[in-house]
């Protein structure tokens, strides 16, 4: 990896908007354009426009593409219909999580795997290695796409005004090829905010044109550019895990409370199967720590790495924490010993720089949109 940050196709647009930029997984990305709380609230109540071009796209094609993915990933890729998408994970042989992914089935024998920016190379290498011996091609398409997301309750109207694609019949976790503002795009109804929304995979040379068209189309509805800072608080409120925080190579999907993504019933072997069967057994009989939500009674904010305490003992660790704009209180996701993980457990606190601040244990998510 070089030290020079990578720039997305929208870099000049962000700078013209006065964005505060941040290094994220080697990319120079917009952290916020103005107030991150205002951006967060806009996505919850109106709409936000995100540049997510740092995400890592990997295309798998060929007669045995599905076999490659069923072997390389923990999900049942064979059951994804054309035009649909699935949240899944890629694990190590020992069951540890390498990344969480979305797999889109673009055609009969064509799949696009979208990895986190920080893991894109690891995922590419692992899928490439695991594809050996199969009749399929694994292609690094990280530079082939820019990714623009429109998220929030006003997003369907905004995107609809720029496309003839049948968005009414585009379900959550589905994607179809189409044209948005004259730009060819894969239109996916996916997101990481807890709101309805779209992710538009396009050629980088069309990114500025599409961004500007969306900005204009969304103006009346209150669409604002939104940075990674609010993306993090949005996903946190929605209880969605973030790799490097809730998900790491030292945890299996079962440890993270996401065992449902592992499909033992699928045909054939897959990387991590034996270790994950043991992890499933352990989670069912003698669960280690559980992933829970914490809501502050006070105003000091828990951060990743802070200890969760009860009765003077450390009983867990915060993996993500932030002031929640929607709840108006600090919130956190934490791994907590099973004995203290039930919602409503009293006497649980977070050690915030030496002071034990009281926290309420709740089930995730903190926020669920009204449908």
């Amino acid at each position: 990896m070089t030290n020079t940050p990578r720039l997305t196709a929208l870099d000049a647009v962000h700078r013209a908007l006065g964005a505060t930029m941040t290094d994220f997984a080697g990319w120079d990305m917009p952290l916020r354009y103005g107030s991150e709380r205002d951006e967060h609230n806009a996505v919850r109540t109106k709409a936000g426009l995100f540049d997510l071009s740092h995400m890592g796209e990997i295309t798998v094609t060929g007669p045995e593409a599905v076999k490659v993915l069923d072997y390389a990933l923990v999900g049942n890729i064979g059951t994804i219909g054309v035009g649909r998408a699935r949240y899944t994970m890629i694990c190590q042989e020992d069951g540890g999580i390498l990344d969480d992914l979305i797999v889109y089935r673009l055609g009969e024998t064509e799949y696009m795997v979208v990895a986190n920016a920080s893991n894109a190379q690891v995922v590419l290498d692992a899928v490439t290695e695991r594809a050996a011996g199969f009749d399929a091609e694994v292609r690094d398409d990280r530079d082939a796409y820019a990714l623009i997301a429109v998220q929030g309750p006003e997003s369907p109207g905004i995107v609809k005004s720029l496309t003839d694609a049948d968005l009414d019949n585009l379900k959550y976790y589905a994607g179809l090829p189409g044209t948005v503002a004259g730009v060819p795009a894969l239109i996916a109804r996916t997101g990481y905010t807890g709101e309805d929304g779209f992710e538009l995979f396009i050629k980088p040379e069309h990114a500025v044109e599409l961004w500007e068209a969306l900005t204009k189309a969304g103006e009346a509805a209150g669409l604002v550019p939104a940075g990674l800072s609010c993306r993090d608080t949005l996903r946190l409120e929605a209880g969605m895990p973030l790799y490097g925080h809730e998900l790491t190579t030292s945890l299996t999907p079962f440890d993270a409370g996401l065992g449902r993504v592992v499909k033992f019933e699928k045909e054939g072997d897959f990387v991590g199967r034996a270790a994950l069967e043991a992890a499933a057994e352990r989670a069912a009989t003698n669960p280690p720590r559980k992933l829970v939500g914490l809501i502050a009674e006070g105003r000091r904010v828990p951060r990743a790495g802070f200890s969760v305490v009860a009765g003077g003992e450390v009983v867990g660790e915060v993996t993500s924490g932030a002031p929640s704009p929607t709840l108006g209180k600090p919130i956190a996701i934490a791994y907590v010993d099973a004995a203290h993980a039930e919602a409503g457990t009293s006497g649980v606190g977070v050690d915030i720089r030496g002071t034990h601040e009281a926290y309420e244990v709740v089930a995730l998510p903190f926020y669920k949109r009204q449908k």
């Binding site: 505060t20 991150e36 709380r37 608080t233 904010v301 951060r303 002031p323």
Partner: protein, 124 residues
């Protein structure tokens, strides 16, 4: 952004007003407020407590981080901004005015406080 000429500044991005009856008002600069992002919680020193120039005396929490608050001068805290305690976003919206943090009866001040122009050069 412009840093008011009549204030003096610390390298830790605090500003300090000229003392009136020996009492100076202290806040953080617009540069610092922008760098923090939305301030959501301000823990200010207690009225009556003594603060020491260059030492931490409180903290400011923002969405992404927590930052220690330093006092640019030494002295006794005579007042804190209760408006900021109840609405920390004042630090972002009016860092040099309604977002002031606390007042100190100054007993000592370091020699290296900066003028507005010197601070502007430092903070860019």
């Amino acid at each position: 952004m412009s840093n008011p000429q009549q204030l003096r500044y610390s390298k830790e991005h605090e500003w300090l007003s000229a003392a009136e009856d020996g009492v100076a008002t202290i806040g953080i600069t617009e540069f610092a407020a922008n760098a923090l992002g939305d301030v959501v919680y301000a823990q200010l020193p207690e009225v009556g407590s003594t603060v020491t120039a260059g030492e931490e005396c409180g903290e400011l929490e923002s969405t992404k981080s927590v930052s220690d608050l330093y006092s640019p001068v030494s002295g006794e805290v005579t007042e804190i901004n209760e408006d900021v305690v109840s609405d920390p976003s004042l630090v972002n919206s009016a860092p040099f005015e309604g977002g002031w943090l606390f007042k100190v009866r100054v007993t000592d001040e370091p020699a290296d406080l900066l003028s507005a122009d010197e601070y502007t050069q430092l903070a860019g």
